[in-house]
Subunit: 334 residues, 2 copies
Amino acid sequence: MTTRPKIKDIAARLRVSPATVSRALSDSGLVAEPTLSRIREAARLLNYRPNVSARNLRTRRSMAVLMVVRDIGNPFYLEIMKGVEATAREAGYAVLMGNTENDPDREIAYFDMLRDGHADGMILMTGKLPAEPAPPPSLPVVVASEIIEGAGFPHVQVDNVAAAAGAVQHLVALGHRRIAHITGPVPEVLSLHRRRGYRQAMRAAGLKIPPGYIQRGDFLLASGRAGCRALLDLPVPPTAIFCANDEMAFGAVHELHQHGHDVPGDVSVVGFDDIYLSEAFYPPLTTVSQPRAEIGRMAMTQLLAMMSGKKPSRAPVILPTALKVRGTTAPPRT
Amino acid sequence: MTTRPKIKDIAARLRVSPATVSRALSDSGLVAEPTLSRIREAARLLNYRPNVSARNLRTRRSMAVLMVVRDIGNPFYLEIMKGVEATAREAGYAVLMGNTENDPDREIAYFDMLRDGHADGMILMTGKLPAEPAPPPSLPVVVASEIIEGAGFPHVQVDNVAAAAGAVQHLVALGHRRIAHITGPVPEVLSLHRRRGYRQAMRAAGLKIPPGYIQRGDFLLASGRAGCRALLDLPVPPTAIFCANDEMAFGAVHELHQHGHDVPGDVSVVGFDDIYLSEAFYPPLTTVSQPRAEIGRMAMTQLLAMMSGKKPSRAPVILPTALKVRGTTAPPRT
DNA sequence: TTGAAAGCGTTACCAG
DNA sequence: CTGGTAACGCTTTCAA
């Protein structure tokens, strides 16, 4: 009990070969019954646990996957992580965490970890790729929730264009005609898609988008606030604002309150993502809900398939969204 | 380029021994200059990366730490994770994620991972320990933010009693005399401490705690709502509520709004934790702020010390809290 | 069905 | 300062 038992110890005790012990303990079905039970029993008794480094070295796998996000501090990733973790766990994989903070060096570092055998696969939740040495698409990598174009990795995502359009249609159906949009960080595909959805829905409803009605944000609270302020300063301010994510929507609602506007009485607000606690806000936020846990599970499932050698489909996996109509939207006044 | 280069390859190319290459690449300072540069250059050229499994096997360390939380889906842990991740990273450690969901089996599983060499140390953020085989206190484990009594592990935490008392004192100073409390899950030490702080502050102010003024919650939104409702049903309802965490405070505010009460006009509410976006709420939540990133950093620093053989101090590391007075507290309506 | 032995890629010990 | 070589603990041929 002073030192960890190894396979050799069990073998010596039972006068069998280490090979047999290894086989018995890995359920290979190659060990006959009297021996099998004796080995299992001895292992239990000695409290044997295999050394992962040795096993990994020999098998050339780490039984770990890497989950890389842009910012661990963002609650949006939580539920996705949960889905990934659960599925990984079931398959016997540990989950390593990576936080890039949008730093290209760190992005590269995580790809290196993959190469180093730290992990067997990677789930990427960043909006872009390290440019310098373009990672080969053959790598077992799945992009979840985000969109990375041109890299050739399989994606699990929602239809952001359609979902955004749906949110705007909801405002149109309520009778709004002056609908503004606060975008996400605009070079990124995700933001572009949501903006496109907004534009499509506006066009479909025969509504003009006046100058200044599209404000550029960055997914953070402050930019929602700032965008909203700019909107209110317009000669003809909007009666409804569609924000590209919930955090900016909270900022917008806040700004509206501070200027003495009632939400949704004076101005309606819609968010995107349905993050944790967004229904606990006051008023509860109307928003587009993504099936985040499911995205995580699905991404991990895809990754498992890739790691076991299957070719990924080129078409992205699209999961459904749902518009949660809550307390921040209402028909316009008059 | 077809196969990964190993130390042997570099050695062969340069006609030096693998040992020298290993020494050169690990900055041991034991390799003389002409050789040193040649090896480094060759490694760079061949795009050499050491195999972690082999290294781990040999050095008997994994250069990974395990961070185990009760629920990854809870944003409270985010900032702590961030602090842990940053410090771990600087020291060359990867962070593995564990999610117990309060399942004893999974708690045990994570302790097993530690023993298996999956990780060299562990940061625990669960309120309790797997009972069955009491883990030896010699294990490199640090408890962060939570409190686990009797296990002998070092702790990094805040003074929950004093912080809770401070929150209540704030209400007292505003003139409140009927102050209620909604607790956390009550067998847990953390909840007990916050409740004790509430009691101490009430006693110090010479205030009675009427029956029903302490409602039992579980840190979740719904329990804040329920606790608040029960409080409102009291013959003499409170003019202020101190909630043991922010999530329950949001629930309470919500419930108050639904019953037509103004916050803070009719009832003041104070939370605990200062979670992400709690200042974005409407009204912005008055709450006790924990230095979460700092807790994470400090816990990891302690763990690094333990892993390098230092004996941990028996006294817990106590980090300061700050009361954030925001929009949910005001003097009582006469 | 079992055993012997050869690695997996590193690092660390012992000589020189 | 450098080289040879033996581990580290496991899995997996190849034989028996």
